[in-house]
């Protein structure tokens, strides 16, 4: 591929290895996106079959993680990559861990959806969960797009999105508490809703991590637990 400068090596095999690795990570990302999208649809439409299907399909994500992990070890051992290649592989190893966790959370949401489907349904079909879910899905998609395009700026935008997701999660929690206090019989149901929202919020955190790895991969700068984002913000103001 000519679009990226990551793969400019004398050894064509090495080029291909790196390219395959990137493609596999994006395939895994696509699978995780689809899982999350289905899990949200299962909650919104009260489709318990779909929810169970999501929960049962999580093994596919896990299988891909193991395969990519092995591939990374192989490249590290046989090619001894340096500089941007090394950063890419480090970023990939971390990214797939977060993707796998997102898959686990989607599995949980799918399972919760199958339970919620059997209970009373609110008239708004869990609109708040739908908004939060779509927001998180958009953020995950933006992070994976940034990975595909090696676009650090898009990654920064995705990282920033996490704050808004945390706010939305707060709002849902408050709302659930209010409902539970009004009607103690609904506690069981709203506990499930809270768990689903919590899972979505965790997915937002994992997507944020992925965004940070992309910034590290492209710029060689580790922005975790630093004031880097605030710096950029103050510069643009």
């Amino acid at each position: 591929m000519e679009a990226s400068n990551l793969t400019d090596h004398i050894s064509r095999r090495f080029n291909k290895d790196i390219e395959d690795l990137r493609n596999n990570v994006l395939t895994m990302g696509g699978l995780v996106e689809a899982q999350l999208s289905r899990a949200i649809a299962a909650i919104v439409s009260g489709d318990s079959d779909l929810g169970l299907k999501v929960a049962n399909d999580d093994y596919k994500v896990n299988k891909l993680e193991v395969a990519i992990d092995e591939e990374c070890s192989r490249i590290l051992a046989t090619r001894a990559p340096a500089a941007s290649d090394l950063r890419l592989i480090v970023a990939v190893i971390k990214t797939i861990t977060d993707l796998e966790r997102i898959g686990d959370e989607a599995e949980k949401i799918g399972f919760l959806a199958s339970q919620l489907a059997a209970m009373d349904r609110p008239t708004d079909s869990y609109r708040e969960l739908k908004y939060l879910g779509n927001h998180v899905l958009d953020m995950l998609r933006a992070a994976m797009n940034a990975f595909a395009r090696l676009d650090a700026e898009a990654a920064i935008d995705a990282v920033r999105e996490d704050e808004r997701i945390d706010d939305e999660y707060d709002a849902i929690t408050r709302q659930c508490i209010t409902f539970m206090m009004e009607d103690p019989r609904s506690i069981r149901r709203f506990m499930n809703v809270t768990w689903a929202a919590r899972s979505l919020e965790r997915i937002g955190d994992h997507a944020k991590n992925i965004g940070e790895y992309i910034i590290y991969m492209v710029q060689g700068r580790d922005i975790r637990h630093t004031e880097y984002l605030d710096e950029i913000e103050s510069k643009t103001e």
Binding site: M1, E2, A3, R22, N23, L26, T27, G29, G30, L31, E33, A34, S37, N134, L137, D138, R141, M144, N145, A148, R149
Partner: protein, 439 residues
């Protein structure tokens, strides 16, 4: 030899001759010739270097006017340059027109090469699926549009296959994707917005499901009262109409049940492959239920018990009972119905053959439509609802199987369900001997 060459060579010879002549006057002919040749060479080398400089700088003033081979060389060069510039302009304009027209297309189009890397895409692809026409050149298409189903479609490379995926940029919108190969090794990914169609389909499905559900409860009340009236002695003279009303209520119940089954089948996905189905056993039990009843023609069974398929047992049972009861209804009592289950080249075939009245060729393609009847005037009391074959077709498509119907009017019909190899469960069961039963 062109005129310019002749003149050039003549000039050169004349110059050399003049040098030789001057040398001869002084008694050194060879020296004169040599000096002249060197002078000519020096002149030509200078011209060559000047031409090269002019080519580099684009300043041809030294050659623009004047005679000689070099000036002609320049004018020919200038002519060719003009020509190629004109072609280039024309092609650029053509390309712009093409781009304009592809951008005006409502469907997204992405040109990809053999490795699924993006060559170019139009504006609709950007709006529908979030491709960036300039930035994504050289990216793999499934790295941007990461749906697993699309990845499967790209691997399959089947131009007739389509998948529906959710748009990553417009939440809730659905895109129909198709990959069309063209040229030597290029493909085009076509994206069509089918949100509206999906919504209409869903509305239709929901309506059928809701309507049949709603019709069911009043019908239960009606048939309940009819049942109790039937036992009432005081209503003896109403016996005839009551029997008919009960028969019709029963028929209506059957229609509703089948409609609900159809709408359930439509919203269900592909049948799972976890369970294995013993088709031969299902055929046996279905036929045994009919055999020996009055008005039922002879039923012959020829089923290979060694072939099992992966799928949904209840649904396969429904296929068998629908096809068999269909055959019974359309075959006279002295006819013969043959039910077979055999291996074929591409997998396995479930066949139901009868010696009934047959179907006219123009009606065959419409048989699986809902409520389609070959003979409109035919009595509806034969127990058929008109949904059986529609259900069969839906179940088969959920098992990756196809329904083939051959019929000769007056001689009989043959319904064959062809299951692909992938659906056959490879079990170590010994191939059982074909069983035959006579009804």
């Amino acid at each position: 030899m062109p005129e310019s060459w002749r003149r050039f060579l003549a000039g050169l010879l004349l110059f050399l001759a003049a040098g030789g002549f001057v040398g001869w006057l002084y008694g050194h002919t060879e020296t004169g010739l040599l000096v002249a040749a060197l002078a000519a060479l020096a002149f030509q080398v200078r011209q060559l270097l000047a031409f090269d400089r002019a080519l580099r700088s684009g300043n041809f003033d030294a050659f623009r006017h004047g005679e000689g081979l070099w000036a002609q060389l320049f004018s020919r060069f200038a002519f060719l340059k003009e020509l190629s510039a004109r072609d280039k302009r024309r092609y650029r304009e053509l390309l712009r027109e093409i781009r304009k027209s592809t951008n005006a297309m409502p469907d997204g189009a992405v040109v990809i090469d053999n490795d699924n890397e993006i060559v170019m895409c139009n504006r609709a692809a950007k709006q529908l699926a979030g491709f960036r026409p300039k930035k994504d050149r050289g990216q793999r298409v499934d790295n941007i549009l990461r749906d697993p189903e699309l990845a499967e479609l790209l691997v399959a490379g089947d131009a007739d296959m389509t998948v529906e995926i959710e748009s990553p940029v417009r939440s809730g919108d659905w895109l129909n994707c198709r990959v069309v190969p063209y040229g030597a090794d290029q493909k085009m990914l076509l994206l069509r917005d089918v949100t509206e169609r999906m919504r209409l389909n869903k509305m239709r499905r929901d309506f059928v499901a809701n309507a049949s559900h709603e019709l069911r409860s009043p019908l239960t009340v009606i048939s309940g009262y009819l049942d109790s009236m039937d036992e009432d002695e005081t209503l003896a003279e109403w016996q005839m109409p009551l029997t008919q009303m009960r028969a019709q209520a029963l028929r209506m119940k059957k229609i509703i049940t089948e409609l609900m089954e159809l709408s359930r089948l439509e919203s269900a996905g592909r049948a799972g492959t976890a369970d294995t189905v013993d088709v031969a056993a299902l055929i046996d039990s279905a036929c045994r239920a009919w055999q020996g009843r009055p008005g039922v023609p002879a039923i012959e069974v020829d089923a290979d018990a060694g072939i099992r398929i992966r799928g949904n047992g209840t649904q396969i049972e429904s296929v068998i009972s629908n096809l068999v009861s269909n055959a019974i209804r359309h075959t006279p009592v002295d006819g013969v119905i043959t039910v077979s289950w055999k291996r074929s080249k591409r997998g396995a075939v479930l066949g139901v053959e009868d010696t009934g009245e047959g179907i006219a060729a123009e009606d065959v393609p419409r048989l699986t439509e809902r409520f389609f009847r070959v003979d409109r005037g035919r009595s509806r009391d034969d127990g058929g609802v008109g949904l059986g074959l529609a259900i069969v077709k839906h179940i088969l498509s959920r098992h990756d199987a196809t329904l083939v119907i051959d019929s000769v009017p007056g001689e009989g019909s043959r319904f064959r369900c062809q299951f692909p190899k992938e659906r056959i469960a490879e079990t170590p069961v010994e191939r059982g001997a074909a069983r035959t039963a006579q009804g």
